[in-house]
Amino acid sequence: MVTIQESEYWKWPETVWVDESKNWREAEVISCGIDLGSVSSQVVLMLDGELYAYSNLRTGSSSSESVDKALKSVLEKIGDMKMEDIHYIVGTGYGRVSIPFAHKTITEIACHGRGANYIYGPSVRTVLDMGGQDLKAIKIDHRGKVVNFLMNDKCAAGTGRGIEVVADLLSIPITEVGPLSLKVYPDDEPEPVSTTCIVFGKSEILGLIRKGWPKERILAAFFRSVATRVVELLERVGVEPEFAITGGISKNPGVVVRVQDMLGIKALESKYDPQLAGAVGAALFGRALYLKSKK
C-alpha cells in the first residue's frame, strides 16, 4: 500500500482533562457529546449540564477507532466511570454516522450554536466555526438556537487542512505558525497571497521562499488571505455582536487577530477550550433529550 513520507509539523497536541473537584456519582444526568470531525475528535462529559471531562484527539484513518479511543481516554482519566454510567450520548460532526453507540445524532451547526452559547455565554449572536475541513458562519439567538448559517465545505482555503499544508511546507509546527505571523503585524504586513486555492498558494509560497522572504512574512501573507476569506463569509451572513470563534483555528492568533481587526470587533474569550463547542452542544442536547424521555 502507499506510504507517503511527510513531515509532521501539522500535528497539534492532544488533551484529556477532568474536573477533579466534581463527583460524577452525585450527578442526576450524565450526558456525553461526541464531535467526530475530519481532523479532530472531541468527547465531552457533562454532569447536569456542567462541563466535567473531555478529550480532544486527532482523528485517525478509521473514524470508529478514533471515537473509541477518545471515549476510552476520558473514562480512563476519570478512573471509575464506565460507559454504562452515561445516560445519553449524542454524536455530531462530519463523522457522526460512525458512532454506533450514540443515542442520537445532531448536525454540527446546531451543536456549535448551542455549545458556543454555553462556552461564551448567552450574549453571543455570531459564531464563526473554523474547523479542519470546513468553515461556518452561524447566527444564534440568546438560547443558542440557530437563526441562520453559511458554510464553505468545498474548498480547503480558510480551513485547518489548508493551514496544515502550509505549516508542513514551511516546516513549522502548527501551533507556532500563528504567533510567528504576528511578528510583522500590523506595521510590516505584506500583501496577501494572491491565490485562494491552496494548491496554487503552495506554488506561490515556494516562490516567496526562493525570493528569500523570512517565514514570518510568508505566514503573514498567507494568514492575511485566510482572514480575508473568512471575513467575506462572515459578512455574507452579517456579523452581529457579540462575536465568538470556535473550532481548532480559534487557537491560531494569526487568523483570529487579523479577522478581529478586519471586522473591527473583538471575539469573546472563554476559560473553556473553544474547540469543544460542538461536543459541548451535543452533550447539552443529550441532557435535554434524556430528561424529556423520562417525563
Binding site: M1, V2, I4, S61, Q133, K154, C155, A156, R161, G162, V165, T195, T196, C197, I198, V199, F200, S203, G207, R210
Partner: protein
C-alpha cells in the same frame, strides 16, 4: 516573414516558429523555471535549433500566456483566449468549442465559422479544474504520468469522488486506496472529477461541435475519455501538432 509565438505558461514555456505560408519550422516545449527570462531564452534557442535558424531570421515575436510580460522584446502580446482561438481555428477549422486545460488554468473559447472569437469563460482560481489536479494525484497512486491516463480506460465502474478541492481529494484518494479500490477505478474517478469541473466552464459558452481539446491535459487519454462521457459528444484533439503547442501557434499566426 518568420514569426515566433511564445507561450509562457505556469508549468511549461512553448515556442512555435512559423513562416509566411504558415508552415511550422520549429518548436520547443520546456519547463518554466524560476527565472522566466532565462526560460524564454532557452525555449527560443531550442526552437531555432530545430528550425535551423538564428535569431536574425525571426522578424517578429508574439508573446502570450500567464508570463507574457517576461518577453520584453516581444513585438506584440495577445491574450491566452485569442491565442487559443486562433491556434485552434488553424489546426481544426471546424472546431466551434475550444477547451484548453493547462497546468493552473482552464478556459473555453467559442470560435465562429470565420475564426473569430464569439465568447469565452475562464477558471483560474481553483486547481480542481486544471492539470495540477493530476500532478497532485499521481504521487498517491504511484503510477507514472503516462500510465495514469491509460489505466483510467481499464476501469470497470465509476467510483464517485465527493471532494471538489484537490487538497481534500488527496485524502479521499488515500481512503479509496486503503479501501482496496483498483488503481484504474481511482484514476477514472480523478479524471471524471476534473472533467466535471472543466465541462461546467465549457457549458458557460455552450457546447457546439466540433469540440476541440487543447493544452497539456489533452495528452491524457483518460481525460479525453472522461470529457466525452461528460459532454456526451465527440471530443477531438489536434492531429497536426501537440495540443499544448496550439496557443503558441495561435500567437504566431496573429502576426501573420
Amino acid at each position: 516573414m518568420t514569426v515566433a509565438g511564445i507561450d509562457v505558461g505556469s508549468k511549461f514555456t512553448k515556442v512555435v516558429i512559423l513562416n509566411d505560408s504558415k508552415e511550422i519550422l520549429g518548436y520547443s516545449n520546456i519547463r518554466t523555471g524560476i527565472d522566466h527570462h532565462k526560460t524564454v531564452e532557452e525555449a527560443i534557442k531550442e526552437a531555432l535549433k530545430k528550425a535551423d535558424l538564428t535569431r536574425d531570421d525571426i522578424n517578429k515575436y508574439v508573446a502570450t500566456g500567464f508570463g507574457k510580460i517576461s518577453v520584453p522584446f516581444a513585438d506584440s502580446e495577445i491574450t491566452q483566449v485569442v491565442a487559443a482561438g486562433k491556434g485552434a481555428y488553424f489546426v481544426w477549422p471546424t472546431a466551434r468549442t475550444v477547451i484548453e486545460v493547462g497546468a493552473e488554468e482552464s478556459r473555453a473559447v467559442k470560435v465562429g465559422e470565420d475564426g473569430n472569437i464569439k465568447d469565452f469563460a475562464l477558471a483560474d482560481k481553483c486547481a480542481a479544474g486544471a492539470g495540477s489536479f493530476v500532478d497532485a494525484m499521481v504521487r498517491y497512486l504511484e503510477v507514472p504520468l503516462e500510465e495514469f491516463g491509460r489505466i483510467s480506460l481499464e476501469a470497470k465502474e465509476s467510483v464517485p469522488m465527493n471532494a471538489q478541492c484537490v487538497i481534500f481529494a488527496e485524502s479521499e484518494v488515500v481512503s479509496l486506496l486503503h479501501a482496496n479500490y483498483p488503481k484504474p477505478e481511482i484514476s477514472r474517478a480523478i479524471h471524471d472529477a476534473i472533467a466535471d469541473r472543466v465541462a461546467s466552464i465549457a457549458r458557460r459558452v455552450g457546447i457546439e461541435d466540433d469540440v476541440l481539446l487543447i493544452g497539456g491535459l489533452a495528452n491524457d487519454i483518460g481525460f479525453i475519455d472522461s470529457m466525452k462521457r461528460e459532454l456526451g459528444t465527440e471530443v477531438y484533439v489536434p492531429d497536426k501538432i501537440a495540443p499544448e503547442l496550439v496557443p503558441a501557434l495561435g500567437a504566431a499566426i496573429a502576426e501573420l
